[in-house]
């Protein structure tokens, strides 16, 4: 780690959020950030120099992706990923609800940089207000004639795996919002077989700022291996759940402190496909991809979820695993059959009534599932389960011996993490 900044909170994307509880109009947006700069062809280079990484969870270098799409022959397409299907995450929704024009600026600038003639904005169909707000923002821009390319807003079916980039491309091509085996990657052959740049809304908001203020300014916040600022969502057993903008390199402990985590219990980092850690250990680590790698963790889309002290970690993991098992695309055998199987094993364990050999069976299953799906959904579920077995090792022993913890015996957990209700199956289109 280097150049650790002392000021954990930063306001770049979140400028003016506290004054406004509604989306900034185009006029307000221009007053705040200035008009969108003329798009330069070298934007991909500037973004690469800035060290911007994807903010949807994978953390891939955005400049590299833009260059890959730009290098392909023929017209390209830009897809704005605003699906935010991670149940506890709110950062993309918060961003779109306050600064839609910053995101759209970034999308239009990226479109120019990669030679795209169309921008598609993909949103969760169930979020009516968000879709209305984005349509209004797009209409505002059309009337002001600020964009050289058409921008289209789409509402997609909501599923955990529908936010995967190949799902968006497949849906935009008239198919179902379910992941497709790559290659070909969307950057090679995506919407309408054109090279397609799929980027998270927060990533594109940062692109808009890099285009305005340059890579050096972007790097003036954050650490060298995590330049810029990051939107994170703190949820679970915290006094102030919500979205925070932090500088890259900020410690997990700082996020826990600013969001008012109540106890030094356990924290789930990275979302429902993430990892459990004792708060005391995680607090010392920077909430960055590089900083968490040694601990086998990842910030994902910036999620810091605190477990209520009165909750049972195994019970909570069981709920999440059940959700992840239901939310699979039901396309790949190892995920379709494997995730319900490990969710069942966990349920037995959590209830303190395990069949003989359930732990051995569970370990064997966790060993064979990862890496065998079209997307990383099964890998995330296995990562969560494995980390729960490690973090809650003493609980696992007690539960396996038929002695569930007091928290489980009390029944429903206190501040449970949000589990969306199951939806009608087959709604993939």
């Amino acid at each position: 780690m280097s150049t650790q900044t002392t000021r954990p909170l930063a306001a770049r994307l979140t400028v003016g959020w506290h004054q406004a509880a509604r989306p900034a109009s185009l006029g307000e947006h221009h007053a705040r950030y200035g008009p969108r700069p003329e798009a330069g062809r070298d934007l991909a280079g500037a973004v690469a120099a800035a060290g911007l990484t994807g903010r949807g969870g994978a953390g891939f270098p955005t400049g590299v992706k833009m260059r890959a799409v730009a290098a392909r022959r023929g017209p390209a397409v830009v897809v704005v990923n605003g699906m935010e299907s991670e149940p506890a995450s709110e950062k993309d929704q918060a961003l779109l609800a306050r600064a839609p024009h910053l995101v759209l600026d970034g999308a239009v600038l990226a479109a120019h940089a990669v030679g795209a003639g169309t921008v598609h904005v993909c949103l969760d169909r169930a979020r009516d207000q968000q879709i209305t707000a984005l349509m209004r923002a797009v209409g505002e821009r059309r009337r002001a004639r600020v964009d050289p390319v058409p921008v289209m807003v789409h509402g997609l079916p909501r599923h955990y795996v529908s936010s995967e980039e190949t799902s968006l491309v497949r849906w935009l091509n008239g198919g179902e919002a379910r992941p497709v085996t790559a290659p070909p990657r969307p950057s090679d052959r995506g919407v309408g077989r054109h090279p397609t740049l799929v980027d998270n809304v927060e990533t594109l908001a940062h692109v808009a700022l890099v285009a305005r203020y340059g890579p050096a300014w972007f790097r003036s916040a954050g650490s060298s291996d995590a330049p810029g600022t990051f939107l994170v969502t703190a949820a679970g057993a915290v006094a102030g759940p919500g979205v925070y903008e932090i500088e890259g390199g900020t410690l997990v402990g700082d996020v826990l402190e600013m969001s008012g985590a109540v106890d030094d219990g356990f924290v789930l980092l990275g979302g429902y496909g993430g990892t459990w850690h004792p708060m005391r250990e995680a607090a010392q680590l920077p909430l960055t991809a590089a900083g968490l790698r040694a601990a086998g963790a990842s910030p994902g889309a910036g999620l810091v979820l605190a477990l209520a002290p009165s909750s049972c970690g195994l019970a909570e993991t069981t709920r999440i695993l059940g959700y992840l098992a239901r939310e699979g695309a039901q396309q790949c055998g190892p995920c379709r059959f494997g995730l319900p199987a490990i969710a069942d094993d966990f349920a037995q364990l959590a209830a303190g009534r395990p069949e003989d050999g359930v732990l051995d069976r569970l370990h064997r299953r966790l060993g064979v599932i990862p890496g065998r799906g079209a997307c990383r959904h099964p890998d995330g579920a296995v990562r969560l389960a494995t980390s729960a077995l490690n973090a809650f090792a003493s609980d696992v022993r007690a539960h396996a011996a038929g002695h569930p913890c007091a928290a489980f015996r009390r029944g429903r957990t206190a501040a449970g993490l949000p589990i969306p209700r199951p939806r009608a199956e087959g709604q993939w289109r």
Binding site: P179, T181, Q331, G333, P334, R336, G338, A341, G373, A374
Partner: protein, 293 residues
């Protein structure tokens, strides 16, 4: 630059038939749900069985890739070149279960149309006798082809060929009905030929022809009613609930050997045409005679 082969799987296409694990147990095992766990690197000693495994996959979920390791840059990244050759089936298409099923179905369609027309000639047989005779002779070709393709499946199944064993026999009732379908078909065609050869007014052939027709019609009605619904699915390669697919609308299954199948059907029709042309003179003595009392 070292060249090696890697097995790639499309997990969304795989339906867990398990043929690959039978053919390449050195590299592929099945998990408890029947889906393959693959060690992708294929040494040259296993290249042949790997190709067989890729070819045998009923849903074409497997691919072989040639991988070039760029050692000069010490780059762990690999340049992959899809080895297309292994997707194009050699002209022995019928060794694939799906290809065999499609050939049977395709021939079935030809016969369905042919026998429908043949049935219509019965309505005005005294006028259409020549057509009835000609078409009957012509259909000998496709009938033999269909017996051949189902017989092939029968033989492969009972000699224990893995893909055919996995596919399993037809449903119990159809398995029972099959021999009768074949015997009555041969009887109708055979007695028809004998009618031509023996000429009018001699022997019991007319009675046998009519009697075998009645039996054949019964068997064939059951046979057609069972399979006709599946024809579009089999021919278009869309899932029909019998192939183990999860749901409709997955991928259209492209089965190589399509050209060979059309060629076989064409050859069967051509063979039938030759028989029909060579025997058409036999209808002469029958012409104008009343034989349906």
């Amino acid at each position: 630059m070292a060249m090696s082969l890697r097995i790639r799987i499309d997990p969304t296409a795989c339906t867990g038939h398990g043929v690959c694990a039978d053919l390449l147990p050195e590299r592929i095992e099945l998990d408890e749900w029947g889906f393959p766990i693959i060690q992708p690197e294929v040494p040259s000693s296993l290249a042949a069985p790997a190709r067989r495994a890729v070819r045998a996959c009923p849903v074409l979920a497997l691919r072989l890739q040639r991988t070039q390791k760029n050692q000069r840059e010490g780059n762990p990244g690999t340049v992959t070149v899809t080895d297309r050759r292994h997707h194009r089936r050699e002209p022995d298409a019928t060794d694939g279960v799906v290809g065999n099923e499609r050939l049977t179905a395709l021939t079935g369609v030809v016969l369905l149309i042919g026998f429908a027309i043949e049935g219509m000639t019965l309505l005005a047989l005294h006028r259409l006798l020549t057509l009835h005779f000609f078409l009957g002779m012509l259909l000998i070709g496709p009938v033999l082809l269909k017996i051949g393709s189902t017989g092939y499946r029968f033989a492969r199944y009972y000699t224990g060929a893995a893909p055919y064993v996995r596919k399993g026999p037809p449903a119990p009732f159809m398995r029972l009905l099959g021999p009768f379908v074949i015997l009555t078909s041969l009887a109708v065609l055979g007695t028809g030929v004998m009618l031509g050869v023996a000429g009018p007014g001699s022997g019991p052939w007319l009675f046998f022809h009519k009697a075998s027709f009645v039996l054949w019609f019964g068997c064939m009605t059951l046979h057609v009613l069972t399979y006709v619904w599946r024809l579009p699915c089999i021919l278009l390669g869309t899932p029909d609930g019998h192939g183990g697919h999860a749901e409709p609308g997955v991928a259209r299954m492209a089965v190589s050997g399509g050209g060979t199948r059309w060629l076989l059907v064409g050859a069967a029709l051509a063979g039938g045409l030759v028989i029909a042309l060579l025997t058409i003179h036999l209808v002469g003595p029958w012409d104008g005679r009343l034989f349906f009392h």
